[in-house]
Symmetry: C2
Subunit: 212 residues, 2 copies
DNA sequence: CGCGCCCTCTAACTTTCGATGGAGGCACCC
DNA sequence: GGGTGCCTCCATCGAAAGTTAGAGGGCGCG
């Protein structure tokens, strides 16, 4: 009656408590086995390369070093790589879009009930996409309102504005001229319907386009 | 050799995964027993009132309803109440100060290693204060820099800046001249050590001087 | 191979901000 | 009464930010 080939999992999260929680929740499920944990994104990439993992549960925020999105990209870049299921606290566009672009098979929120989590892991193991309802809704809104969608570069510039940088400083950081930064921001303003950097940060934060 | 009166714990966190993780980490410790869990702040307040709890592990962010700080205040307001140990992800002043004001016995971060967590629970059970190193450092910095405190008017103006209003608009809103608004902001900038409105909003948000 | 979208850059122009250095009124406290 | 801190207002000047109206290259898609 037991499944002869259980789904083998790697937990990548810098919080020991969260790793213990995921382990506790998932190991009670039949057919799921946690075979390894990683406390940094670098470790996760290295461990995933060993070939004995079916699904990686990946956090996006790590205290130091590489982020979860980049780790996801590196893992999925290899042939025969495991599926990566992002499990994080936030559902802003600033987090979801890079993760999905990086090749994540699913995107879950940490407040999900254990059943949903286990179901998503099985879905991911089967190669199908698993999205949390809130994330799915956000993506739908994106598709419905294409005029409002900020491009990657625009989001990047706006995030630096939110950090308090001047146009000149942003230009230096991104290797752009100050004029180009202004161009990006001008487009951001029209898309968001505002007319200043502070107003742009305010509404973008409300809309979840950037995090703060 | 076993302690006849173990420390009885209540876990209050809206994430099932985190509750499972805390339970897994703490129940392996001798002398600690998790007797209840709460998924909302309201439940935590009600459950803590039953009198059979020594220490509450309280998250600050709950998806809906009451926040962890208010719940902490309500729990500690009663006589003979349990100790409240805040366990959260963030260490900004906006979170720590209200929690401490509300009567929390300690403040931990979720990335703490399990040993530290268990040690902090025992410290709290004994009635002593348990602070994560990063939080302690932050509090020390506060005490060292008393000049950073913003006046009511300055905070009011800065909050409107964070909402994206121009100096003129703020003046209209508060019945001030634009020049007065500039005066307030100039003082805010020197106090925060910045030189632009966006930078002021960024650092004030980090410091928890304004809400967003 | 166009077409559209994104990214980059330019340049001149207007408006808003921020810096500086004041000044007077008011409340509170020693 | 004389501090001290907060709030209000003033004027000027240089520095950012925002506006407008372009243009060209790259990339994917039908």
């Amino acid at each position: 009656m037991t499944d002869p080939t259980p789904v083998r999992l790697l937990l990548a999260d810098d919080h020991p408590v969260v790793r213990a929680g995921l382990r506790a929740v998932l190991e009670t499920e039949p057919g799921l086995v946690v075979v390894a944990e990683a406390a940094t994104a670098e470790d996760a990439v290295a461990r995933a390369a060993e070939g004995d993992i079916d699904v990686v549960l990946m956090d996006l925020q790590f205290g130091k070093g590489m982020g979860g999105a980049e780790a996801t990209a590196r893992i999925t870049a290899r042939a025969g790589s495991p599926r990566v299921l992002v499990v994080t606290t936030y559902d802003s566009d600033a987090d979801t879009l890079p993760a999905i672009e990086a090749g994540a098979t699913g995107y879950l929120l940490k407040d999900a009930p254990p059943e949903d989590l286990a179901a998503a892991v099985r879905t991911a193991a089967a190669g199908r996409t698993a999205l949390a309802p809130r994330v799915a809704e956000r993506l739908m809104n994106r598709l419905r309102m294409p005029g409002t969608a900020l491009t990657r570069r625009e989001t990047e510039v706006l995030a630096l504005v939110a950090d308090g940088l001047s146009n000149q400083a942003i230009g230096r950081r991104l290797h752009l001229t100050e004029g180009t930064v202004k161009s990006h921001l001008a487009r951001v303003y029209t898309k968001l319907g505002v007319d200043s950097r502070t107003a742009a940060v305010a509404t973008a934060t409300d809309l979840g386009l950037i995090r703060r």
